[in-house]
Homo-oligomer: 146 residues x 2
DNA sequence: CTGGCTGCAAATCTTTTGCATCCTG
DNA sequence: CAGGATGCAAAAGATTTGCAGCCAG
């Protein structure tokens, strides 16, 4: 319990941000979180222990962490942004049915033969398919191609 | 000029959609388009030749084409969806500055060592960096990492 | 004390939807 | 002529912003 707070405090100090209870709660929730939560998810989770927390504060906090390189903003889910506290370069696997997102740490060789003169600074692979829970009960409706 | 119309008509017939002037215009605009336009871009472009065109119609048309596998909806731009009439599997290169999107047709070997029991059905690589026009005048502000 | 933060509400922006009317097949 | 398609406006979501008051440093 204490380590989490300490880690959250360290991050704020390192970034020159004030140590507010709201920030501590958000950072504590994100630390080690591999669920790739949305802003709404984070707000809901943190609100449980911290009633009165504003969604705007969540967005503000996420934006400052993202701008300082402490948080990745994933565009992998078409309907909303997802956040990942693991800022090491890695890839993602998304379930087309339940939208669960899992991490892929494998390093791939992605030499681009002809980058049209672009200066490439990074990459991200999105694998899509069906998670173990969803691949059985696959919906008979849309084939859900992307 | 005639080929475009014919091609648009063929697509509608193949999909069992009615041949309306709005659809012809949208399909005509998308045919061979490699700019990865947003719904707003498409609406603006088509409105020029077809005043009165409704944005809702653009969204409806794009949704039906996407559902029938004739159009890819790209989630590559955080602020809005982009559309790609090239439905062959391929990857994208996005300029972090001007948001231009270019196609990468190279095929990469993306064997995932441990997919956590997921059934993987596809993948998409997003390369990011700076296009030839932007890499010179790189903004001194945010490093814009993703 | 003072500037950065928070909460609230209003504003934006993108995308979706309901519905009456229109027009293709 | 009928059902799909269109246009308009309203609605729905997600995210951003303005601002007054609050609190960490």
């Amino acid at each position: 319990m204490r380590e989490k707070n300490t880690k959250a405090q360290d991050i704020c100090k390192e970034l020159g941000l004030k140590l507010t209870p709201q920030r501590m709660a958000i950072l504590g929730y994100l630390d080690g979180n591999t669920a790739h939560p949305s802003a709404e998810d984070i707000h809901a989770a943190v609100s449980r222990r911290f009633p009165g927390m504003s969604l705007a504060t969540v967005y503000n906090t996420l934006a400052s962490l993202r701008d300082r390189g402490k948080l990745l903003e994933l565009t992998i889910d078409p309907s909303k942004k997802r956040y990942d506290p693991d800022t090491r370069p890695h890839h993602h696997l998304i379930c087309l049915d339940c939208k669960r997102v899992s991490d892929i740490d494998h390093v791939f060789d992605l030499e681009v033969p002809d980058p049209f003169g672009y200066e490439i600074t990074g990459n991200h692979i999105e694998f899509y398919g069906y998670c173990p829970e969803c691949k059985g009960k696959k919906t008979t409706s849309a084939p859900a191609r992307r």
